[in-house]
């Protein structure tokens, strides 16, 4: 959540006063710039408050009267951790040590991404009555879906950290800082795609079905249940194509940041892409550029289509 609140507003959302959208009121032709700036800041603040209120509403509605439900949603990934560790490490012998931690370090951010995008996709449609009757900044609808997922993600990440520390694995180190740029790329990419699909889904209702299928396939395009080295071994110099998927880059960076394979890697296949940081930062830069480009597209599409939301719903 704090993540979200500190992230820059999507491109095009004016934060600073621009002449077009912060003109003086009627009869106040000579409004001084400081007032303009103040008003613009106030507007921005009101939007963030609205976003926060919507996220809070979603949380409240979802976990109303059931603290257990909330605890469960945190424990759920940890249960998965146990199951997958059993299946992959003991039954299938995948050769990835501490498989559960490996899996979770990538899966949490992926779940946050796919959860955001698929609930953002239906966000405008689900609030049809509101969109048709009240004028408000519509982008808060998909953004609140992202925020909702982000809150869960952060809490689950915290639980994962606790588990790692309890198991006595290595966690605290400079590599942990990698989650900051990786998180920034992830949130940019998630917001971009969320805006795009939420707008498309208003007019083209099959978007959500297509998205579900796409996310299912996309899951396997990230090295979460298999080692990244497997891809490197197959694709060799074409690995960069695989890494054009921003989520794959985010996933491997999170793994690098959180996952510590421990001393004895028994396998010839490297689990992690690289033991340094530059590799990740470079690829994050590319993924970030892709995400920003997509953000521009998503924002543009949203802005163009939102004028017709009330009519299409």
């Amino acid at each position: 959540m704090s993540h979200l609140a500190d992230a820059p507003l999507p491109a095009g959302t004016p934060v600073s006063p621009s002449p077009q959208q912060a003109g003086p009121g009627p009869g106040q032709h000579a409004m001084d710039p400081s007032r303009l700036a103040r008003r613009s800041r106030a507007q921005t603040r009101v939007r963030w408050e609205l976003l926060r209120n919507l996220i809070r509403k979603d949380l409240k509605v979802k976990y109303k009267g059931s603290t257990l439900g909330f605890a469960w949603s945190l424990a759920n990934p940890m249960l998965l951790l146990v199951v997958y560790t059993f299946v992959f490490q003991i039954v299938l012998k995948s050769g990835i040590p501490r498989f559960g931690i490996y899996l979770m370090s990538g899966l949490l951010i992926w779940n946050a991404f796919s959860g955001s995008v698929s609930s953002a996709c239906g966000a405008v449609v689900a609030n049809a009555n509101l969109v048709k009757k009240v004028r408000f900044p519509l982008a808060v609808l998909p953004l609140s879906a992202v925020g909702f997922a982000a809150v869960h993600f952060l809490l689950q990440l915290l639980v994962l950290f606790l588990v790692i520390l309890l198991l006595g694995y290595n966690l605290i180190g400079t590599e942990l800082l990698l989650i900051v740029p990786a998180g920034a790329v992830a949130i940019t990419f998630t917001v971009a795609l969320s805006l795009l699909v939420s707008a498309l889904n208003v007019r083209y209702r099959d978007t959500s079905h297509l998205l579900d299928v796409a996310l299912l396939a996309w899951f396997w395009l990230n090295p979460m249940v298999y080692a990244f080295g497997l891809i490197q071994n197959r694709l060799h110099e074409w690995t960069w194509v695989y890494l054009l998927n921003p989520m794959a880059v985010v996933v491997i960076t999170f793994q690098r940041a959180i996952y510590d394979p421990g001393g004895g890697s028994t396998n010839s296949t490297p689990i992690q892409a690289d033991l340094g940081y530059e590799f990740y930062l470079e690829h994050l830069a590319v993924a970030g550029a892709i995400s920003i480009a997509l953000l521009w597209v998503g924002f543009h599409v949203f802005r163009t289509m939102q004028a017709d939301f009330a009519e299409d719903l």
Binding site: Q21, G25, Q28, Q43, V134, R135, V140, D308
Partner: protein, 500 residues
């Protein structure tokens, strides 16, 4: 009845002389849209559903540019999407004591125009012509644009600051669509819209309430959707709760509220947004009488504060008592813009005439009542105002086509307010033998009775031999009779005496 007929009479005094009111210009229509009125909604903030392209936005006249060199676009959206002037002061600095403009006198002050729509049209694309899936989007492109529906056609509306305007019309005439276009929720297909100041649109009360949340949470959520900051809501919260009279239930889930309580809370939030412009759809119809009174009192208060109000209601009485002006929509066209008394009368006629249509619409009938004229004598000069005792001739022009019955029978009803038939005149027994062509049938009344009011004519044509109805036409033309009595339609002889 007395009251209606007096409204009727007032209007009839200005000769209606057989014209269909072609949207007479309203009070501020003479206002030249200057400066702030000509703002460009395309520059609105993208995070709100600002129509990205209203075509052909008028350039502001020179000298009206703001310091930024662009037409002021700040308030049409800037204010409403959260422009929280701290302390809830309206951004547009509305002078609260502006005298409400009744005539065009103040039209030359630039900031007087608050709502300006020019040539606003709205077309709804029918679902069959619209790609509703990505698959279709790429497979089938640009189908025939046949069944599109024009919900608004070329509507021009200019509303000055501080006016209270009623918007009326039959169901489906486009009232809600117009409000949504003005509120920026729908994008007009063509035309421009600009609104000054913070808008509150009460299209539906409590839209966006979530039943799973308490009243308190919903107040915060709803107010923040309407653009209030947390600080403002904190400050207004008690006042909102007091207004809704729901303090005892404010921490209950909204799903346990009765529909009246729900609406009350919605209204309480909406009116605390402190709008410069209030757009109200038919929301006042819900709720009990006490609540309605409260709503109306609030609207009256807004009115007294010089805010601009545009509201939709089916209560024509309300429009007559509360509004400075009425806009009447019919099938998306603005057919009247002006005096409430005249507009409501027109609307009553229109609404009343609806069930009176004959088996075949007159345009397609074999005998078409083309026009009606009023004069003293057959063929005389047209006249609309008569005194009791005078002679009146009602001349009905018929267009008879091939295939019409050989003998036709005419019933001519003189109808008053609410389509009440006052009297009926019919052709002599056996009917009239008419061939194809134009014919005029004169009905002469030698001495008009002591009537008061304006009256219209309804002509019913039937086959004189079989008795089968051919068509019915209700004419819009009115004639007036100015009897001496102050109240009531008819003067009758009577005596009043105390007994026992």
């Amino acid at each position: 009845m007395a009251r209606h007929s007096s409204a009727y009479q007032r209007a009839a005094a200005s000769p209606p002389g057989g014209r269909r009111p072609a949207a007479p210009r309203g009070p501020v229509d003479g206002a030249t849209p200057v400066g702030p009125a000509a703002l460009d909604p395309t520059t609105l903030d993208p995070a709100i559903p600002a129509p990205p392209s209203y075509p052909g936005v008028a350039a502001p006249p020179p000298g009206q540019l703001d310091p930024w060199g662009v037409p002021d676009a700040g308030d049409s959206a800037g204010a409403r999407d959260g422009g929280a002037a701290p302390g809830g002061v309206p951004d547009a600095a509305v002078p609260l004591d502006v005298p409400r403009p009744i005539d065009a006198g103040e039209a030359d002050s630039g900031s007087a125009v608050v709502i300006q729509g020019t040539g606003v049209s709205k077309r709804f694309v029918s679902y069959s012509n619209r790609a509703t899936s990505l698959k279709e989007r790429f497979v089938r492109r640009g189908g025939p644009a046949g069944d599109d529906f024009w919900a608004l056609r070329d509507v021009d509306v200019t509303i000055g600051r501080g006016q209270t305007v009623g918007l009326a019309g039959a169901n489906g005439s486009g009232k809600s669509t117009l409000l949504k276009v003005l509120a920026g929720i729908l994008r007009p297909t063509s035309g421009q819209v600009s609104v000054q100041g913070r808008i509150a649109s009460l299209l539906e009360l409590g839209a966006g309430f979530n039943g799973e949340l308490s009243g308190r949470d919903n107040v915060y959520l709803n107010a923040s959707l309407l653009g209030l900051s947390k600080r403002e809501i904190d400050r207004l919260f008690d006042s909102i709760v007091d207004f809704s009279e729901l303090r005892h239930k404010i921490d209950d889930d909204v799903k346990h509220y009765s529909s009246g309580q729900y609406v009350r809370l919605g209204f309480a939030v909406a009116v605390h947004v402190d709008p410069d412009v209030l757009l109200v759809d038919e929301v006042l119809a819900v709720g009990d009488e006490a609540f309605q009174r409260k709503c109306l009192a609030k609207i009256a208060e807004f009115r007294a504060q010089g805010r601009t109000i545009l509201f939709v209601t089916h209560s024509l009485d309300l429009i007559e008592t509360m509004c400075d002006r009425i806009l009447v929509l019919e099938s998306g066209s603005l057919i009247y813009d002006g005096n409430p008394a005249v507009g409501t009368k027109l609307l009553r006629q229109k609404l009343g005439s609806l069930p009176a249509e004959g088996p075949v619409s007159w345009e397609y009938a074999t005998v078409r009542p083309q026009s009606v004229a009023f004069s003293l004598d057959p063929g005389g000069l047209p006249l609309v105002q008569y005194d009791p005792g005078e002679r009146l001739t009602v001349s009905v022009e018929l267009d008879v086509t091939e295939g019409a019955p050989e003998q036709i029978y005419l019933h001519t009803y003189i109808v008053g307010q609410s389509e009440v038939p006052i009297w009926m005149m019919e052709t002599p027994p056996g009917g009239l033998a008419v061939g194809p062509g134009r014919h005029i049938v004169d009905f002469s009344v030698p001495h008009l009775p002591e009537l008061l009011g304006a009256f219209a004519v309804k002509v019913h044509v039937s086959d004189a031999i079989s008795g089968a109805p051919v068509t019915t036409r209700r004419f819009e033309e009115l004639f007036g009779v100015s009897g001496p009595q102050a109240d009531g339609l008819l003067k009758v002889d009577y005596e009043a005496r105390l007994r026992g």
